[in-house]
Amino acid sequence: DVKVTQSSRYLVKRTGEKVFLECVQDMDHENMFWYRQDPGLGLRLIYFSYDVKMKEKGDIPEGYSVSREKKERFSLILESASTNQTSMYLCASSGAEGSREKLFFGSGTQLSVL
């Protein structure tokens, strides 16, 4: 069964902290994505990566960075967390043989920044 695993289901951090959100997929997918989801705003793309060590900015990259050192792992980094980064963060991957466009999502990380 395909799987995208996000390291934390719930996370509480303080303003100014450096925060790491980890995502691992076991499907050998080339593409990986980080979205944030807020009520009334839907899903917005933060960053994506189509290969190891490659990254592209999405629609709202400010305040975030990413790292993809290995194909299966894509990390989202909040350099200095702020209260407006309180949100649900969703990781996804794609690139499955025969269904390259389909995204597989993790269960999400609800981040609260106090």
Partner: protein
């Protein structure tokens, strides 16, 4: 930038009734997808329709695509309480080689038993 916009934002129906959700988008696409999200969880892919297709079926789901109107609809027939969830359309836009999708804001469906 929001590519897809969904209508209605919320829908409440009785079990057994049909549910129809609509999605409009702005740019040309190669395909349009529908996803489902149970409360507080990740999204699950339901169905993909390509730009050269007009209708597609999967079990109780029926998706239509009208590229001239830049719109799609998702019909769930004979709804069940377990269909209660949020439903999102997603489009790939004109450049799809990276697999990047743009999501609509979603329709929240409540199916009452």
């Amino acid at each position: 930038s929001q590519q897809g916009e969904e209508d209605p934002q919320a829908l409440s129906i009785q079990e057994g009734e049909n549910a129809t959700m609509n999605c409009s988008y702005k740019t040309s696409i190669n395909n349009l997808q529908w996803y489902r999200q149970n409360s507080g969880r990740g999204l699950v892919h339901l169905i993909l329709i390509r730009s050269n297709e007009r209708e597609k079926h999967s079990g109780r789901l029926r998706v239509t695509l009208d590229t001239s109107k830049k719109s799609s609809s998702l019909l769930i027939t004979a709804s069940r309480a377990a269909d209660t969830a949020s439903y999102f359309c997603a489009t790939d836009g004109p450049s799809s080689n990276t697999g990047k999708l743009i999501f609509g804001q979603g329709t929240t469906l409540q199916v009452k038993p």
